[in-house]
Every structure is written in C-alpha cells, then in structure tokens.
C-alpha cells in the first residue's frame, strides 16, 4: 500500500490484481451491466490513485476502495435513464460451457437483485457475493451494524418473495 502511495508500478499491478475481480463483481451485481461494471472498476482505481492524498492510512484500505465502488455504482445508477435500467444492458457473462439452465439462473439472480433498492442491494452484494461480515459491511457503507442487519433482512425477504414468485419479478 505504501509503495502504491509512492507511485510504484509493481505495487499498482499488485493492487489491481488483488482487487479488480472483487470490485468488478461488486459493480456488476450493483448495476447488472458488464460494461458499466468495467467502467466503474476502472474509475475506482483511477479515483483511488487521484485521491490518495485524502486516504487516511489509519483506516482499512479495502473499506475505502469498496466504498468508492459502491458510491460510483450508485452514481451510475442515478445517471441511468429509467427505460434502460433493467433491460438495457448486455447480458451477464456466463461461462462458455455453462448450460442454458445456468444462464437462466444467472438472469434470474440479476433481475431479482435489480428488484431491490440500491442501498439494500449493496448490502446483499457485499454479504453474498463478497462474503463480508456485518461489521465489514458497516465499515464499507459507514452505517451502524444494526442498520446493516435490518437492510439485509428486509432485502432477503424481498428476494425470497421475488424468487419464490410471491410478488412479480421486475421485468
């Protein structure tokens, strides 16, 4: 981290290798769009680089960079036109050899996640796709642990209703 702060290219490579997949997945699940996820991931690394002077080393680097990813994803979602929110983006990537069933499941998850509000979605993605603890989610989103729990439980309840077709699936 110190080397990255000093502008070391090898350290930059290391940080990109370590975080790009996780940040990309966070952005992908937040937006449901592979191109937005690529843009967001790149923006976050650039912003991290540009805002190094504002980074306080007393705090965890990962909380800082994940927070930037969530915020950038929320910005992208705000800028989107409502008409393209759910159906406008390219399909989620699925392994080449994956059977159709896998693509269907992936699409189902994508639509269910997009049926959540962005703040609730962020909690679900951090919990289920990045496997963060309640405390880590609270650190990233800068909210109390109790708020993390209540958002997560409400979001999961909504997902339960969507996935079990008790309420209409969003598009």
């Amino acid at each position: 981290m110190r080397q990255f702060l000093d502008g070391d290219r090898e350290a930059a490579n290391g940080l990109v290798d370590r975080y790009q997949k996780r940040l990309y997945n966070l952005a992908l699940r937040m937006t449901g769009d592979v191109l937005d996820a690529e843009d967001i991931t790149q923006t976050v690394f650039l912003n991290a680089f540009l805002k190094l002077s504002t980074y306080d080393p007393r705090f965890k680097f990962f909380s800082w960079i994940y927070r930037m990813t969530v915020n950038e994803s929320l910005n992208v979602l705000k800028r989107r036109k409502p008409s393209v929110t759910l159906e406008g983006g390219p399909e989620m990537p699925v392994a080449e050899s994956a059977p159709d069933r896998s693509a269907e499941a992936e699409d189902r998850v994508r639509k269910a996640l997009l049926g959540l509000g962005p703040n609730d979605r962020a909690v679900v993605v951090l919990k289920h796709f990045l496997l963060f603890s309640y405390q880590e989610i609270a650190d990233v989103l800068e909210i109390p642990v109790q708020t993390v729990k209540s958002r997560l439980y409400e979001a999961r309840e909504r997902l339960r209703l969507i996935l079990h077709e008790k309420i209409e699936e969003p598009c």
Partner: protein, 373 residues
Amino acid sequence: MLTQNQIELIHQEIDGANSPQQSAAFRTLVEQNPEARTLAAELRSVTLTLDQAGQRDPPPRLREAILAALAERGRVRSTWWDILSDPVKAILEGGRHMTRKTIFIGGTAVAAVVIIVAGALTGFPPAFYKAGTIGGIGGVEQAARYRGRAMTEADVTLKNPEIQTLLQNEQVLALVKSDAFREIMQSASFHTLQANSTYRALIANNAYQQLQASDLYQQLRGTAAFHELQTNAAYQQLEANKAFRDLEAQGAFQQVQSAAAMHQLEANIAYRDIVASAAYQQLRGSAAFTAMQSNGAFQRLAASAVYQQLQASPAFRALEGSAAFQQLQSSNAFQQLQSSMAFQQLQSSAVFQALSQNAALSQLFMQQVMQKN
C-alpha cells in the same frame, strides 16, 4: 406469526452469525414452528441461489485498461510500461481513457503488444508436453539412441545390447514375465502414457514415486470418488490455487459444518475468494468432493507435502485428469507393478521407454522375452 426476534434469529443462523446458544434456540424454533421452518427453508434457498451465481471473472482487457489509464496519469512509471505503451499511446490519447471504446481498443492493443513482445523475449508459450518438464518438476531424458529416428522392429531384438543389459537383471526378467506386466504391455492406456513426455518426467520424479508408494494413495486410488474428483475440471482449476490446497489440507471444506469453524474461516480472505468462485460453486455440488472432504485418508493425503507439490504442477493436474492416466491408475495390474523396484528400474531405461510407446514393438518385445530362458 413470527416475532421480529425470531425472524432475526433465522436470518442470523443463515449468515452463520448466531452464538451456540442462539443456534440451539433456532433449532428448537424450526422444530416447533412450521412457519419458522418454511421461512428458514426459503431463505436458505435464496442464499443458495445467490451463492450459485458466484463471482464472474472480469474480461482480460480490464486489467490492461486500468493500468493503461493509471500510466496515462503520468505518475505510475516503469521502463517496461514505457516500452510497451508507446505503440498504443496514440490510440489512448485519441480520447479520454474512460470511454468503453477506448478501453476496448487500448486494452486489446496493449494485450497484443504484450503477447508479441513477451513471445519474442521468452519464447512463450512453450509446447505443453515439452520433454523433460512437468511444470517445475525435474524430468528425464528421452531415449537418446532413438531420438531423431523412430524405433523399428529391428531394434527390438535380444541382440540389442541395451535390451540384453536390461534382461540380465533377474528381477527385471521375472517382472516382465509376470502376468501383471503382460497385461499392462497390452494396455493402450499404458502406451499412450509412455509416449507422453510429461508422464515420463513424472515417473522419474521423487515426489511422484513417494506418492505412488504411499499407503494413503494406494488406498484412495481404488475408490470411484477419488477418481471422479481428480478428473473434475472445477477441482483441477481450484487445485491450481495454493490457498485452496492449503485450506483443503486443513480440512477447511469439511469444517464448514461447524458454525464456530465457519466464523473463523469467513475471516480468511482467500477462503472467501475460493468459496465465491464459479469453480467452487460447481465443485460443491459434487458428491465425490463431499465424500473426499470427509475421508480421513484423503485429508491426510491432501496435507502431505508430496501431494501438495504435485498438485502445484499444472502438467501433473492435466495428466491426472486424463482418461489414460485414470484408467491405468485404477488397474490392479498397474498398481501391482508400481510398487515394484524392478518396474521402476525398467521404466527408467531409455530403450524400454522408447519401445513401450508403441503397441506393436511392445508385443514384439514380449515375444522376445518369452523366448528367453
């Protein structure tokens, strides 16, 4: 109607966040309350659906695009970057680094330049089955006498001094006259493997010899679940990851049954990455994987240095996943031969290596041997 506390207890159990006392309360609740039982089952189904989606690999161009954008900012510098970036700078500077089009064009151009330059400098990619290398494991020389020309029937004769020397050893002679050896010499899998330089390198490797001689391996290679796991593509992909091998050696994937161990594991970032990977999501549905993770012999084998060393080799994993290797490993005759010193001696002989790659020459060799008193 469930209370808020009961709902929270169910969610926390799903997240593995309950204390042992809370978990006990949860179990009592779902046993006694059908509504709680239904909610818990449906929430588990939701988490399973999300888990199965797993993490996706970012496109390869993304890394290059990020590094290109960082470099463009002018503060992250290196000689390598300066060399590689010049041809694509014009493209990158044609627009802002943040556009998707630029990312695609620039990333692809960088990747192409990297591949071309790296190929010119290093000769990469090498031939996979390059003689004598199996991903860092020391290899053996091919039969020097027959290198550059094919071995012919004329070479397979008792007059051949190399064959004479070989058969002067009584233990080797006894071995080649045994039923097990005759069976193996008729096996297409054996000829296929003998023709594979990676396999020949492997049999000369100490770690492999130790593995073959270990009781644990002998015990496991007779089981269907072990075979199935070794040929599972997702397992092979995960075995390439040191963190996975380390966790497997610790029995981590068995421990997830215990809430306390689960909490400990969740703090491990490598574990999280593995569990979130698409390969693991595929693997965890495999009955063979589950069976092996709860198999004491497999756990001890996975924790052994030789197994870890061999699994770290991409070539070994590829070989292990091949049908010929699997077929041979599950053959009783081959297992019998593997434990014989005479067979190891024979396998290390250049002339035997050369002739055993060919079914017709192998048959001729056996005819010659059987004529010898």
